[in-house]
C-alpha cells in the first residue's frame, strides 16, 4: 500500500436483483487530490457513493481507507473514520436552522451525553460554545453566514448546497465526497463553488466529486474516473479522459449504435 493513497477501492461490485449497478470497480484516490467521478446517468456513480459510505454493502470487493479496511462499516462509523458526504438530492435537516445543521455535523467529534446535557457542567458548556463557534466559522467559510438563523429549507438552492458542504466539513473529514454539488447552480454560482473546492483542497481535505458539469470537472479535478453501466471505462487526467474514445462513445452513445449495426 502506497502511503500516497487515501482511499483504495478493489473490485467493488453491487447488484440489485439482476442489475449490475457496479461491476469490479477499482481505483485509488491520493491524499490531497480532487478526484472526479463521471459517467452518464445511471452509470453507478451514486451507487458507488452509497457503497463507500456504508448505506449499501458491496457484494464483492473492498475499500481501504487511510490504511485500514472499510468493510461492513455502518454509515455513522464511516463518518467517524473520516468520510463525509453530501447528497445528490440535498438532504439537509429542513426544519432546523442553518446553524443547527452545521452544529449537528459536529456531533461525531464531540461527546457530551445525557448527564452533560442535564447538569451542564463546565466541560459540556465549553464544548457547546466550541460547537457553536466552529459552526459559525464553517458557515462563513462556505459563505452562508448571513443565513445562520434561517431554516435550512428557506435557503436559496445554491446556499443549501453550500450548507450541505459546511455540514459535511463539520465532521472533520479526510475525504469529502460530493454528489453533484453544482447541480442546479448557475454559471456564477458554479464559479464560486469551484473556488470553494480549491480552498477546501488547500486546507488539506481530499475531495471525491461526482459532477455532470464537465467544465467544472475538467477545470478542477486532478484525475477522473469514468463509469458506464457500472464498469470503469477510463481513468486518468482530465485531458486524457476527455480524449478517450470509449468515454466519448459512452457520452454520445456511438458505441451503442455501432453495436446495433455490427
Amino acid at each position: 500500500m502506497s502511503t500516497l493513497s487515501l482511499l483504495a477501492a478493489k473490485g467493488i461490485s453491487k447488484r440489485f436483483g439482476g442489475v449490475h449497478a457496479l461491476s469490479d470497480v477499482s481505483f485509488t484516490i491520493n491524499h490531497g487530490e480532487i478526484y472526479g467521478l463521471i459517467g452518464p446517468n445511471g452509470a453507478g456513480k451514486t451507487s458507488l457513493f452509497n457503497v463507500l459510505t456504508g448505506i449499501y454493502t458491496a457484494d464483492d470487493g473492498n475499500f481501504i481507507f487511510d490504511g485500514e479496511p472499510l468493510d461492513r462499516v455502518k454509515p455513522n462509523e464511516v463518518a467517524e473514520r473520516g468520510i463525509a458526504r453530501t447528497f445528490q438530492n440535498i438532504r439537509l435537516f429542513q426544519n432546523l436552522s442553518a446553524l443547527e445543521n452545521v452544529m449537528i455535523g459536529r456531533h461525531v467529534r464531540t461527546k457530551a451525553g445525557v448527564f452533560g446535557a442535564m447538569f451542564r457542567d463546565k466541560n459540556t458548556l465549553a464544548e457547546e460554545a466550541a460547537i457553536e463557534k466552529r459552526a459559525y466559522e464553517l458557515l462563513g467559510y462556505v459563505g452562508v453566514a448571513k443565513r445562520a438563523n434561517d431554516l435550512a429549507k428557506h435557503l436559496a438552492y445554491g446556499d443549501q448546497r453550500r450548507l450541505e458542504i459546511a455540514r459535511a466539513l463539520a465532521t472533520e473529514p479526510k475525504l469529502l465526497a460530493l454528489d453533484e454539488p453544482a447541480a442546479g447552480m448557475n454559471a456564477t454560482e458554479t464559479q464560486g463553488l469551484k473556488r470553494l473546492l480549491e480552498e477546501i483542497r488547500r486546507d488539506g481535505i481530499t475531495i471525491l466529486l461526482i459532477e455532470h458539469d464537465m467544465k467544472l470537472v475538467m477545470s478542477v479535478c486532478d484525475r477522473v474516473l469514468v463509469l458506464d453501466y457500472g464498469r470503469k471505462i477510463a481513468e486518468g487526467s482530465a485531458a486524457e479522459v476527455q480524449n478517450d474514445p470509449k468515454v466519448i462513445a459512452a457520452y454520445l452513445g456511438s458505441e451503442v449504435s455501432l453495436n446495433l449495426k455490427g
Binding site: K74, P75, N76, L96, E100, I104, H107, M118, T124
Partner: protein, 360 residues
C-alpha cells in the same frame, strides 16, 4: 427555532418570573376555595405534564410515534405500589423508589426501543401499541401462580410521600399555615415538575437534543453525519420512559391505589393528544396541552349541568355524556384551526403555514 441563549436576563424578566412564582404558590389556596377536588385536579395536571414532556422526547424530538407510552407510567406506578404498601409488607421511602421506578421504566424503554429500531411511523405505532397492551395485560394477570400485582383488584393502601413522620397525605399545619393533603402534594409536585421541565429544556438544547431532531428530520442524513442512530434512538426511548416512570410513581403515591385499569390505551392516546394538541416538540406547548386537556374535562364536568339548566330550564343530557361530547368536539376544532398545535414551536409553525414569501 433559533436558540440564542439569554446571557443575562433583564429586570423585567425577573419581575415576570417572580409574578409566576407567587401565582403558582398561591394557586392551591385559590383552587381550594372551589373545593379540594380542584387541588387534586391541579396535581393531576402536573402529573400529566411530566408524562407529556416524557412522551414529547420520543414523539416531538426524535419523531418516533409511540402509542404505548402509558406502559412506562404503569411500570413506575407499580414499582412504587409494590415497594411501599402492605401488599408485600415493604415500605421503602419515596426518594429510594422514585429513582428505582425511573430506572426500571428506563430499562423497559430500551426493551421496547431495541426491537423497533428499524421501524418508523405507522409500523412503530402498532408495535408500541401492542407493547402498551402487553404490560397492562401482564399487570392484570400477574396474580397467579404467584400473586405479584394482585391482578385486576389492584394494590391498595399505598404509602403516601412521607419524610420521617411528616406525611404529605394528611392535613396539618406547616409553619403555622394549615395545609390540606393535596395542597402539600401540590408543592412537591410543582418542584418535581419544574425539575422535569428544566431537564427537558436542557436536553433539547444539547448535542443529544440536536441528534434527536436530526433523526426526526432525516435519518439517512443523520447517519451520514456520524450520528449513531441506534444509540440515540434508544436514549430517546429510555429518557422518555424514565419521565413516565417518575410520573407513575407519583401517581401511585397521590392516589394510594393502583389497578391495571388506569393504564389502558385511552390513557396513551390522551397523553399523545396533549403532545400533539399542545405543539409537538415545543416544551411550553406540551405543558399547555397537558394542563388544558386535564382541566377541560373537569371544568365541563362541573359546568354542563348548570349550563343546561340555565339554557333549557332542565337537564337534557347527562353531564357525563355531554362533557365527553364537548371535549371531543373541542379536540377536533383545535386540530382544524390550529393544525400545528395550540403553541407550536417556531419551526413547526413555519413548516405548516403557507409561506407568504417563497424562498428566493
Amino acid at each position: 427555532m433559533t436558540k440564542r441563549r439569554v446571557k443575562r436576563a433583564p429586570p423585567k424578566v425577573w419581575a415576570g418570573v417572580a409574578l409566576i412564582v407567587v401565582a403558582l404558590a398561591l394557586l392551591p389556596f385559590v383552587a381550594a376555595l372551589a373545593g379540594q377536588a380542584w387541588v387534586r385536579i391541579l396535581n393531576f395536571a402536573m402529573i400529566y405534564t411530566m408524562l407529556a414532556l416524557g412522551l414529547n422526547i420520543v414523539v416531538g424530538f426524535a419523531g418516533l410515534l409511540d402509542l404505548g407510552y402509558i406502559a412506562f407510567y404503569a411500570v413506575g406506578a407499580y414499582v412504587y405500589a409494590l415497594l411501599a404498601s402492605p401488599h408485600f409488607g415493604i415500605h421503602l421511602p419515596f426518594w429510594v423508589i422514585l429513582p428505582l421506578g425511573a430506572g426500571l421504566a428506563c430499562i423497559f424503554g430500551v426493551l421496547l426501543g431495541a426491537p423497533t429500531l428499524k421501524l418508523r411511523g405507522d409500523y412503530l405505532a402498532i408495535v408500541t401499541l401492542g407493547f402498551g397492551e402487553i404490560i397492562r395485560i401482564f399487570l392484570n394477570n400477574l396474580n397467579a401462580p404467584v400473586n405479584i400485582t394482585n391482578g385486576p383488584q389492584g394494590i391498595n393502601l399505598i404509602d403516601p410521600f412521607r419524610i420521617g413522620s411528616f406525611s404529605l397525605a394528611r392535613a396539618g399545619p406547616v409553619l403555622g399555615i394549615d395545609f390540606s393533603g393535596p395542597q402539600k402534594y401540590y408543592y412537591v409536585l410543582l418542584l418535581l415538575t419544574i425539575c422535569v421541565i428544566v431537564i427537558n429544556i436542557r436536553l433539547q438544547n444539547s448535542r443529544l437534543g440536536r441528534a434527536w431532531e436530526a433523526i426526526r428530520e432525516d435519518e439517512v442524513a443523520a447517519k451520514a453525519m456520524g450520528i449513531n442512530t441506534r444509540n440515540v434512538k434508544l436514549l430517546a426511548f429510555a429518557m422518555g420512559a424514565s419521565f413516565g416512570g417518575i410520573a407513575g410513581a407519583i401517581f401511585s403515591a397521590t392516589q394510594q391505589f393502583v389497578s391495571p385499569e388506569s393504564f389502558g390505551l385511552f390513557e396513551s392516546i390522551i397523553v399523545l393528544a396533549m403532545v400533539v394538541l399542545g405543539g409537538m416538540g415545543n416544551i411550553p406547548g406540551v405543558i399547555l396541552g397537558a394542563v388544558m386537556l386535564t382541566l377541560l374535562p373537569e371544568v365541563l364536568r362541573y359546568t354542563m349541568e348548570p349550563l343546561q339548566l340555565a339554557l333549557f330550564g332542565r337537564v337534557l343530557l347527562d353531564a357525563e355524556t355531554v362533557r365527553l361530547l364537548v371535549f371531543g368536539i373541542a379536540l377536533v376544532a383545535i386540530m382544524l384551526y390550529r393544525p400545528a398545535g395550540l403553541w407550536p414551536s417556531a419551526v413547526r409553525k413555519r413548516e405548516l403555514e403557507t409561506p407568504k414569501v417563497v424562498a428566493e
